[in-house]
Symmetry: C2
Subunit: 239 residues, 2 copies
DNA sequence: CGAACCCTTGACAGAAATCAACTAAGGTGG
DNA sequence: CCACCTTAGTTGATTTCTGTCAAGGGTTCG
């Protein structure tokens, strides 16, 4: 594994405080790999053998049932995913696939579980990370149950703009059909929702979203920290 | 606090393995209280001062936004709730109210955070508990996005019957309007969904649900461990 | 150049919310 | 003990929203 990545991983909240020798032990057993787009990394129901860390690219977490499929989360660098399954040694609840060319570091979950038993700092960091993950899903669920499709889209746009330095425009970080599934609608419905937001301060030009009237958009989304503020782990660490 | 409750709390996975003196320290600072029905225990957005443990009765976790409201979870004895907010010292994402006369034990979250720093066993148990909480919400979210209202109701009925010794009938453990909100529909829609399930092996008599054709109901719900199996913490500890 | 694939648009169907009325059950106070 | 009131639940009529199906434009990639 390249030193470069090791440093970035080490900087993650999850690994920042642990003892050096334990970090070394963890990453010695780990390996990193680069995948092309649309590669399945994880199949839901399988045993949780590896903690995954996205170093470059992006990964879609999704779930299926009876021929239906839905996007649960999109993970960007540098972040981990499926920590909970690893910690409980339980089957993955979600599948994962790369959305683009993606570099992933895989840490064997047996090593993880061994090390959080001997490194209190790592155990504390794990608690913090899991709490953040939990709170993220709760926010996602609240949004699904409390906001309409149009409101969810408006809120997403405001969140994404904020992450992108709060500029007046940004490029969607995923395909629209993935975004549609993430916010819980069909691509057709997303398309119509986008259109309907053009009356309230939004312009769409391909993958670019332009906010022309921030106040008007906020009037639709009514953002609140209890649904819209990202948990610390969510945006990942930018290089 | 009564010895009786102390024992039950001590038996919880979260507290089972920790050192005795730490458990004593935790519970010395704690106090227990009994509330009538419909009392607000927690307001979303408030600081997470106490870990709550339901000892008797039941508590509804719910969230609101813009005048709308939705039930996120119903907690029954003996279980904890809002652990994640306590661990991160972050604002509660959900409100809580008693559904009936309920006895709750309150553990100051400062003490919690102090003790998981010095008691590795407690830290490990916390990791396990948080992972289970995370996985529960993921399952709830998957269900909302992948199943229709009718399918969610069918799945709920099968899960609840299983918890109730897999008998041919059971009593709904909450009011129907609360169940409706939990599965993400209006009370009117729940009522119609119940009716529509009468064609596929279900009978309803007030609060009692009778399963007359388990196979037929399963054909609607298509239960899968990845959505329908409870995480260990969910059903609580029965006395 | 053709073949996918993504996105959009339109027409339609289906699901669920809303609004309103009515029943039934439980609790309160006379 | 009964009349009254409140509230949960049901049912029907209607509207709104979202999904489905089908078609067409535009892009990318082999």
């Amino acid at each position: 594994m390249r030193d470069n990545e090791l440093c970035e991983i080490r900087r993650l909240p999850l690994f920042r405080a642990m003892a050096s020798e334990n970090f070394t032990a963890l990453t010695r057993a780990a390996y990193d790999q680069t995948f092309p787009a649309q590669v399945r990394l994880i199949e839901e129901g399988a045993a949780a053998d590896f903690l995954h860390i996205v170093v470059e690219g992006s990964v879609e977490l999704f779930a299926g049932w009876q021929g239906r499929e839905t996007t649960m989360q999109v993970v960007r660098p540098v972040s981990t995913f499926i920590l909970a399954a690893c910690m409980k040694d339980a089957p993955y609840l979600m599948s994962a696939r790369t959305l683009e060319k993606t570099r992933v570091v895989l840490v064997p979950s047996v090593d993880l579980r061994a090390i959080f038993r001997i490194d209190p700092e790592f155990a504390l960091a794990t608690i913090s990370e899991l709490s953040a993950c939990y709170r993220s899903v709760v926010k996602h669920t609240k949004e699904l149950k409390l906001r309409t499709a149009r409101e969810r889209l408006a809120a997403y746009i405001l969140r994404q703009a904020k992450l992108d330095n709060n500029g007046p425009s940004f490029i969607l970080p995923m395909e629209k059909r993935v975004l549609a599934s993430l916010i819980g609608v069909t691509p057709e419905s997303l398309s119509r929702a986008m259109k309907s937001l053009q009356d309230v301060g939004t312009k769409v030009d391909g993958q670019r979203i332009i906010i022309t009237d921030h106040k008007a958009l906020e009037a639709v989304a009514c953002p609140t920290p209890l649904m819209d503020d990202p948990e610390q782990h969510e945006q990942g660490l930018r290089p």
